[in-house]
Symmetry: C2
Subunit: 751 residues, 2 copies
């Protein structure tokens, strides 16, 4: 096993799943790993190319629409298809489903950033060829998707015909009964222009409602002896490329596809032409080298080495590679629940970003982490507008799910009610500041978001009459199997953290640049009294706790409910959400995912370790992990309380969730949060790393079967190399000034 | 003022509202009070004719569909239009919006059951006519709608042309943002057949999905000197009726319209023809007489006389008349929230029936009351199916809103979560049995429903671990401003009542007819242990109570929430549901309507009078009465605690809610629950009547400005006349054996 790559040798099995797994992306552009050539009809397939943040908006239809329900959806669009290349080899159509496949292998290599398909094919008539398809979505030139293809004739001389298309007749998958997939608009893009000149072809297409345009352009590099002509149809342009191959000869072709869109490109057609004409001055090898170089830089800090566990090593690298493939790298985009690998969850950005994915980038590539926060700043006005719609005259409420910034959740009990997204974002901003000391960001953007978030949380809460405790009612925590509750521990503890910290942060940042912040004070009509109010509320925050049992209930009423009858629930009824009405779930003590346990992980000091242990043992029994956001947290916290076998098992379910299709829905896209969670399981779990009061802490414990574990951390302009062995942790300062870290609660100087 | 009728003298004002108020119906067929002739375009109008229980079903679209969400809607349909008659008078088109209207009056008479429109019109050219339109939906022949029309020429001799149509080109009002109106399908009926022969015209139309067909037939009685011809168009048939009128002459026309549908009529076209040919052997006067006779019988028991308050007297009679117009009289129909007067709430049947309308019929017309329960029995299998969908392997869960029996609520927090509809129905069955002693009904239907309901309620509840109390979690009570709560007082107390009573009822009924009930036991696999379980749960039922404040919280957490800021809520923000997101409402102590107070009214003995008083005073302050189901209950309970002025004021807001359009939405249909509530306010409020342990109790108090109040009650095969004066109550036995009643807690023998 090459633990840098994913390999597949059976093209007949789970085609749609592998379209996801082998997708190539660069954060802007994502291409599902469909075969270039057509597959036979009965093979389920979602052939798709997506641009991060490029969406269509449709009216959301409700059976019963109440005030403040979002009016319009936003769904990521399958854009113009450029990945199709059919081949005629000596007069016969090439297909893996005809003739004889003598060899087949597909790999996706995390070091090279290239997906390679190698085939030895014998045609029905007996002609044998060796074909290699390579593809990449360029990290260097985000608009560029490349297919390089070579063909070797093993036993004949004959004609090769390549039918390569650019096709605007694309659609999204239609509505399903699975709420995790979503109800996208089938055919949202309409072709407005087809251009073909000098063997360059362009298609312009636009959306109906979101007022966006996309342009795709293609051009081919072909052997000199080959001829090319183009054929314009209604919505597609076909390039017919012809020539002769000699027995023993190998021919090489490259298809360049360039995408531009109205968000990022001022004159999207002209810019597309310019980029396309620029990139074809180079060849495939040039971009393959750059791709490797980019990833080389990426892996320098991002790589995690696991010695002694090939499968975990592979799973982890696969995950981290997909994260860098998925993460948006400009102000228009974030990282969606499925990355750019599928249409699940409509391409929406959730809290997954902040709580599950952000930490990986924060500690390995803080610029990308900052970009994720910049995105939140860019949609701050939408969050302000949403707060107004919800009846608040102050503050900002971030959308539970969105692309461009509007709340798009049509089901508020597991949507808008998850107010915790607000404090999740605040938590990330505070973490970012704490890890990077990037005061400029706080001055420009961070503090403004923190204030607006704190205002909203203060406004939805209240001081309870009976005891003066600050309570937050009618919210939904991370666990969507219990909705609309009072005093969700997770929401309250994260809000408390914000309220308690914001005063100090304000003062620190204000002292650094009070002229710019004075402007902010004016703009926000911010009063110092507000800081006092936040502080008072923070101190008075109610955190539900059952003193007798020394357990935290997930919310005020959680422990009064009936425990789910797990014993009599057949296996095939999981995930429960697909088999039980929400009310049936709400009525029971049953959790989709870590909720209170997640709160403990993020803010460990708010509870005694004893209560954390008790909670772990209690909630573990009633958590189904039906969400892919769960096992990583349980792995981390199992480590924390010394349940090392459990920690390892939960990690196994995390690190290979997509590769092994453990949730049976990877066909709809990868699970980016879980991928981020696998990195967290390593760093926060096995290494037990935490940042507390701006200091690094470790509680390392290496799984028994591993020889060592190694990863790097960027922290306050330093680079630290962390090496865990069965003997403990060794931390080396690779860059930056010496610092103290706490290892198992003992201070160690790293220099 | 004629307090038997509603009169309008201003045809220009609020046309759409008056279409509702002047609607004529008979429980099967309802015709909105549109003018026969076309009105000008800028007058908002919903011209509609509805058949009770005749609906179309469409797929319900969800932005996010979870397990158990209803798949299909059911919406009452606007059926074939037969009410249009345009007139050409001496060459000029008749319209109230041209020429000069010298006199106009419209009345709806509750004694005759006829709506009359009298007009003195001067045409633009100066021809003067007196026109009288009379219309009725026959109580005697439910399929029949009649328009009688007379014209008198005051100053000319000339031609009269009548253009009378039957038109299948009909549609429902389209989706709006008001959740109380609903999202019906615009054009659901398609015409499949037009027939015209011997001046009889028929249109057959069918629905697309619900597989129903409706036929309408028309025929005219016209003066002998007049000629008639018919003109068939695409979807309508036009009858052109011509002749001459002499100066001073009065001519008389009658349009007979007959409706049949697949539910009620085996061969709907042939039966329609048969009925039409039968009814035209009589004239308008014949049906007007029968109409009067029917209503005469109705009013014998139903009438409530208020001496000293003309406006209340009128309002009350208007309400009771609309109730008898609206109530379904066959197994296919119930009484919808808007009767047959409009499309609001899609023509659905709610709990309104049992808790607000059923009592009026129970005590004045028990056969009609029984029919309402029969309807519930007829949909029992749907309720069983729904219980299964919700994850219960036992019992029945009645739909929150439906026409044919399927749950149609697309928003479960204020829909399926209102499990209380189950115990509302149970309450009515128990009341029915208690008031009528109709043991045959209990044997055939009542007990089966009670058992299935009790099973479901037992299944959703549980004995709380901490104290063994029986709790019911994650439900919504009557107050939809607080959804998905634990231990809603109302739900729990009604469930307790069922659990506590079902054992005795079972034994009593079983002893009366154990052969039939033995079959039932087999069919339901019913075990005696279940009765014991119900009894145990009933005794252990948790009823939330704040001992310190001597108040019942509406649910477990209600008193912990923030009280709504009424002071800073502008008047135009009511009803709150149209101006605030549900979560904002849920987070506060604010009630749309009586909830705990309603529980107290229905089951007064479950609480001390002191706590009832406390609750009244507490909840009154935080109740907006945004629902039309609220003021009647507050009126009743204000009487109960001696707040007589309040009782009167709440009654005023109840009795004339539609006539005075107090909720600004009567244009979409009458509020049948509120109408029933106005009768309840009289009998349960001012007379303070209750049935406790099968005995009648009274706590009478007449409002100061009233001279006397008189009504009749059917009770256990007796008829009692109740006369309240300022001196007390006088009860006379009009029929049946002597009985004891309690008046202000003193036993009185009535003989």
């Amino acid at each position: 096993m090459n633990n840098w790559s994913l390999t597949d040798a059976d093209f007949k099995e789970s085609y749609q799943l592998k379209e996801t797994l082998f997708s190539t992306a660069n954060g802007y552009l994502g291409v599902r790993g469909s075969f270039e050539e057509d597959v036979i009809k009965n093979v389920p397939s979602v052939r798709g190319i997506y641009i991060n943040g490029f969406y269509e908006s449709e009216e959301i239809v409700y059976g019963e629409k109440l005030h403040g329900f979002p009016d319009r959806s936003q769904s990521i669009l399958n854009v113009i298809d450029t990945q199709r290349i059919n081949l005629k080899i000596n007069g016969e159509n090439f297909s893996l489903f005809s003739g004889e496949v003598l060899f087949y292998e597909r790999t996706l290599n995390a070091k090279t950033g290239i997906s390679t398909r190698t085939i030895h094919w014998k045609s029905p008539k007996g002609d044998e060829v060796k074909l290699i398809f390579k593809r990449l979505a360029s990290f260097f030139q985000r608009e560029l998707f490349l297919i390089n293809f070579s063909i070797e004739s093993l036993n004949f001389t004959g004609e090769i015909e390549m039918i390569s298309t650019i096709n605007g007749n694309v659609s999204n998958i239609v509505a399903t009964d699975d709420p995790r997939v979503g109800t996208a608009n089938a055919q949202a893009l309409s072709v407005v222009n087809l251009l073909s000149k000098n063997n360059q072809s362009y298609i312009e297409a636009k959306t109906k409602h979101s007022n966006l345009k996309v342009v795709a352009g293609i051009v081919h590099q072909i052997p000199k002896s080959f001829s090319e002509k183009t054929l314009k149809e209604d919505k597609q342009i076909i390039h017919l490329i012809n020539g002769t191959i000699q027995k023993g000869e190998t021919l090489n072709f490259t298809k360049f596809a360039v995408y531009t869109d109205t968000n990022r490109h001022k004159n999207e057609l002209e810019q597309n032409k310019a980029i396309l004409n620029d990139v074809i001055s180079n060849n495939y090898g040039y971009y393959a080298d750059l791709q490797k170089k980019y990833l080389n830089d990426f892996w320098k800090l991002a790589d995690v080495k696991i010695e002694g566990d090939e499968k975990m090593q592979q799973g982890l690298r696969f995950n981290l590679f997909h994260l860098v493939q998925s993460v948006g790298k400009d102000r228009w985009s974030n990282i969606s629940a499925k990355g750019l690998s599928g249409e699940g969850y409509e391409g929406h950005y959730f809290w997954d970003t902040e709580i599950y994915i952000f930490p990986f980038f924060l500690f390995t590539n803080p610029d990308l982490a900052k970009n994720l926060l910049n995105y939140r700043f860019n949609i701050l006005d939408f969050a302000r507008k949403r707060a107004c719609q919800m009846g608040h005259n102050i503050g900002a409420l971030y959308p539970w799910r969105t692309i461009a910034g509007d709340e798009c959740s049509p089901f508020f009990p597991a949507g808008t009610a998850q107010y915790h997204i607000n404090v999740d974002i605040a938590y990330s901003i505070i973490q970012y500041y704490s890890v990077t000391d990037d005061i400029a960001f706080m001055v420009d953007k961070g503090l403004e978001m923190l204030i607006e978030i704190a205002r909203l949380m203060y406004h939805i809460g209240h001081f309870r009459e009976s005891d003066g405790k600050f309570c937050i009612d009618s919210v939904t925590g991370p666990d969507e199997y219990t909705c609309i509750v009072n005093n969700n521990y997770y929401t309250n503890v994260l809000t408390k953290n914000l309220f308690v910290q914001i005063g100090d942060i304000w003062n620190e940042v204000f002292n650094s640049n009070n002229s710019k912040l004075s402007e902010l004070v004016k703009k926000l009509k911010f009063k110092n009294q507000e800081l006092k109010d936040f502080s008072t509320a923070g101190k008075a925050m109610f955190l539900p706790f059952d003193k007798k049992r020394k357990l935290h209930p997930q919310d005020d009423s959680f422990f009064n409910k009936k425990v789910w009858d797990f014993e009599n629930t057949p296996k095939e009824n999981y995930p429960l959400l697909l088999n039980y009405h929400p009310l049936t779930l709400y009525r029971h003590q049953v959790c989709k995912q870590a909720d209170t346990i997640l709160g403990h992980f993020l803010l460990e000091n708010e509870s005694s370790l004893e209560a954390i242990e008790n909670d772990y043992n209690y909630y573990e029994k009633i958590t189904t992990h039906d969400s892919s956001l769960s096992t990583c947290i349980f792995s981390i916290m199992a480590n924390r309380i010394g349940e090392y076998d459990k920690a390892y098992n939960y990690f196994m379910n995390t690190a290979r969730l997509d590769i092994d299709n453990l949730h049976h829905n990877t066909k709809d896209g990868i699970h980016t949060a879980c991928m981020g969670g696998s990195w967290m399981s390593i760093v926060f779990g096995f290494a037990g790393m935490r940042v507390v009061n701006s200091e690094l802490n470790f509680h390392p414990h290496l799984p028994k079967k591993w020889k060592y574990l190694q990863f790097k951390i960027k922290f306050k302009n330093r680079v630290l190399d962390c090496l865990l062995s069965q003997d403990g942790i060794q931390i080396t300062l690779e860059k930056g000034a010496p610092l103290n870290v706490n290892i198992d609660d003992k201070i160690m100087k790293i220099s």
